[in-house]
């Protein structure tokens, strides 16, 4: 296939915008090799031979000897083999086509910007007592522009409307009605909704039963839970922790933290720090069963169980051991938010090596978690409750919380887990008023 290619005046030197053809070295009909000079050109700075950018047969000279043309102007046409250089003109064509089709949006169609008024529009509307609902919007998404109001005023329409200010205010309050999305805290709403209910009333079957479609996420949860319970011999243990000092520490720091970081400082962040530090001391907790061997993972990636109304997901805090309490708090907030907004990506879900579940957030004081397959253990953080406790043969009111641990008994035994939990407990109890978040 033969195509015609233009040779253009290149940018020969900085600041040059034009060049003059001094002499043509090739004539129509001549064969030109790539980089072979086709003509001599004169500029304010340099005089040079212009090499060809393609190989082919010179077809036509577009700019004669002695003529001065701007940089980028085509000066001759060369016929080349193949369509390697076709792409550019096609692209340019596409761009112009796209530009010419862009017109003003049709205001009769859906108009999401109809109710958004710029300060200029509101001011003009108030000034001329214009009821904005009667003005046609020609802006983006049906928006009423300043010019629309001016045109409306100029046309003399709507002169009798004096209550225009009220209309503007009413339109604005409608805009505020959008629902808010919760972005922090692990609390569930009081009346959980039932997803996709389909009631089938069988004749004579009493009041009829509800059938709920199994969603893909429900199906995944079911499969993972079944696999975990059937393959892993679970064992369970629990320890009690005195978190009174931690409560005091958090109360001292949380307002400042909210101001500084804009997120809640949760107990969970401190717990994660305590757990991660304990895992560092007992790396076997961070492992998985591989039939003929046990794989101990080097990275400590904490899967965090986050519940929503109708499912539970376990997004992962990667390299949790590299983060301080503040960093963990941010990660928790981020993952919880993404989970609730349904914005978790596959990479958020992968690579977990140990799971923590904040069961206390829904009021539990004791739970028996199922291990997040194929990990070796899962730990729950139960509700913090004030209880009378005996210290040095005296009664004291302390803030207490339970930590529950389910473990894969193929990998772990009671002694190591007991020591691990004891270390978590020590870590949690050693937080005090002087502990640093950063």
């Amino acid at each position: 296939m033969k195509t015609l290619t233009e040779i253009v005046v290149p940018q020969l030197a900085e600041s040059l915008v034009s060049a003059t053809i001094d002499k043509w070295l090739k004539q129509p009909g001549d064969w030109i090799d790539i980089y072979e000079p086709v003509c001599e050109i004169l500029t304010d700075k340099v005089n040079a031979e212009l090499p060809s950018t393609v190989a082919g047969k010179m077809v036509k000279i577009l700019v004669g000897k002695g003529e001065t043309v701007p940089v980028g102007t085509a000066i001759c046409l060369v016929e080349t083999e193949g369509g390697a250089n076709e792409e550019q003109p096609v692209q340019a064509g596409a761009v112009t086509a796209a530009q010419t089709t862009t017109g003003f949006p049709d205001s009769a169609q859906d108009a999401p910007m109809r109710g958004r008024f710029s300060p200029a529009v509101q001011q003009l509307a108030a000034e001329h007592s214009v009821r904005l609902t009667e003005v046609t919007g020609t802006g983006l998404g049906g928006r009423i522009t300043r010019k629309d109001v001016l045109a409306y005023v100029a046309s003399g329409a709507g002169k009798s409307n004096s209550a225009a200010g009220a209309a503007t205010a009413a339109a604005q309050s409608a805009v505020d009605a959008a629902a808010q999305v919760r972005s922090s805290g692990l609390h569930l709403t009081e009346t959980p909704r039932l997803p996709k209910i389909e009631v089938e009333g069988f004749a004579g079957a009493g009041r009829g039963d509800s059938f709920i479609d199994v969603t893909p996420i429900r199906n995944t949860i079911a499969r993972n839970m079944r696999q975990s319970v059937s393959e892993i011999p679970h064992a369970w243990t629990m320890i009690e922790v005195d978190v009174t000092n931690l409560v005091l520490l958090r109360n001292k720091l949380k307002d400042e933290f909210m101001k500084r970081e804009g997120i809640n400082l949760t107990y969970l962040a401190f717990l994660l720090k305590a757990v991660v530090n304990a895992i560092k001391d007992f790396p076997i907790m961070n492992s998985m069963w591989a039939v003929d061997k046990i794989i101990v993972k080097r990275d400590i990636n904490i899967s965090l169980a986050v519940g929503t109304e109708d499912s539970v997901l376990t997004p992962v805090i990667k390299n949790a051991d590299h983060k301080n309490v503040a960093g963990l708090a941010k990660e928790i907030d981020e993952l919880a938010r993404k989970t609730r907004e349904g914005k978790l990506t596959l990479s958020d879900m992968q690579g977990g090596t140990f799971t923590v579940n904040n069961t206390g957030s829904f009021g539990s004081i004791l739970s028996y978690p199922i291990i997040n397959y194929p990990q070796a253990a899962i730990l729950t953080f139960e509700s913090i409750v004030k209880r009378p406790v005996v210290i040095n043969d005296m009664l004291a009111v302390r803030s207490m919380a339970n930590l529950c641990l389910s473990l894969d008994h193929r990998i772990l035994d009671g002694v190591i887990c007991g020591r691990f939990l004891q270390r978590v407990k020590d870590n949690l109890e050693s937080f005090n008023q002087e502990s640093k978040l950063y």
Binding site: Q11, E14, S15, P119, G139, T145, R146
Partner: protein, 327 residues
């Protein structure tokens, strides 16, 4: 009145000022015998001799320092930074000395100095020959900064800068040198520093800019007029001090404003212009303030597609203008 290239207007301004006042002299790298790498100072050494067209060593800090000293003793130096990219070794002299002399000496000393520096890319100059350093000097009280776009302003502002009793940085756009052409009176005139200029009257959108990008704005405005979009164009001309009233008037005209410059967006002149508008004109705005600037990347790429990506052009400008008009 003669049609003249931007670069010729700059050269003419220096020639006229040197003829008018023998305290005026130029200094810089290759400004004498060679006549400047862009030919900006061509012919000056022949007319005024080597004492008034000084070739200096490759040391921008020394060029600025010598010029500051001469200015303090009553001379009127025009110091050339060959490319504004090379200006940074002189920033300490300019910011810490030139800008502060009047203040520091309680009005005893002044520094009537002009520093000319070519800015801008699109000339295959890459990292060291393409920068727009306006924002580096922009926030320094004590400095005046001008950046003309039309040849008329190039001549008038340079003459005003020479006659100004305080240091003025004169940013000329090297891409404009041969590209921008216009009428320039051969008479003696100055363009006041601190006054913006309306390049085109319009009523749909306002575009505020300076230097080279206005070339694209004018072209785009011409084409958009065919589509029924009328553009009001304001050439800032002076960046420091900004013509606040000129800016506010231009914005009031349409309520929709696009600020445009080649220097990158973050911390650029457009940010300040935008802040002025936001502070003074909230109730006149009909659309969010828009900025179209160079991207926040460390340097102008030397590869042609990269440079093309970096640089503004007529299509990018037109697209932004149309977008604002449609809002």
């Amino acid at each position: 009145m003669a049609a003249m290239d931007y670069i010729d207007a700059i050269r003419l301004a220096m020639k006229e000022e040197m003829e008018r006042d023998e305290d005026v002299f130029v200094l810089g790298e290759d400004v004498g015998v060679k006549g400047g790498v862009f030919t900006t100072t061509k012919g000056l050494i022949e007319q005024f001799g080597e004492m008034r067209a000084l070739d200096t060593p490759l040391a921008e800090s020394a060029i600025a320092g010598v010029a500051i000293g001469a200015a303090m003793y009553g001379m009127k130096p025009i110091a050339e930074m060959q490319y504004s990219d090379f200006m940074f070794p002189a920033t300490n002299q300019i910011i810490s000395e030139a800008a502060k002399i009047r203040y520091r000496s309680n009005n005893d000393w002044t520094c009537p100095l002009v520093i000319r520096a070519p800015i801008g890319g699109g000339i295959f100059g890459g990292l060291y020959h393409s920068q727009c350093p306006e924002s580096v000097f922009f926030g320094t009280p004590g400095l005046k900064i001008v950046a003309p776009y039309r040849p008329y302003d190039a001549k008038g502002l340079l003459k005003a800068a020479v006659r100004d009793p305080d240091p003025v940085i004169y940013f000329e756009n090297k891409k404009c040198y041969k590209l921008v052409n216009g009428d320039v009176p051969e008479t003696d005139y100055t363009v006041p520093i601190g006054k913006a200029n309306v390049l085109r009257e319009g009523e749909d959108i306002t575009v505020i800019g300076y230097s080279m990008p206005l070339y694209f704005v004018e072209q785009a405005a011409e084409e958009l007029a065919v589509e029924g979009i009328s553009t009001h164009i304001l050439d800032l001309r002076t960046l420091q001090p900004l013509d606040k009233n000129g800016i506010l008037e231009a914005v009031k005209k349409t309520g929709k404003v696009l600020i445009i410059h080649e220097d990158n967006k973050t911390g650029g002149v457009g940010a300040e212009v935008s802040a002025i508008i936001a502070e003074e004109l909230l109730y006149e705005l009909d659309a969010p303030i828009m900025r179209l600037c160079g991207p926040d990347v460390p340097a102008m790429p030397i590869n042609p597609p990269g440079e093309k990506f970096f640089m503004l052009n007529k299509d990018k400008v037109k697209e932004a203008m149309r977008h604002l008009a449609q809002y």
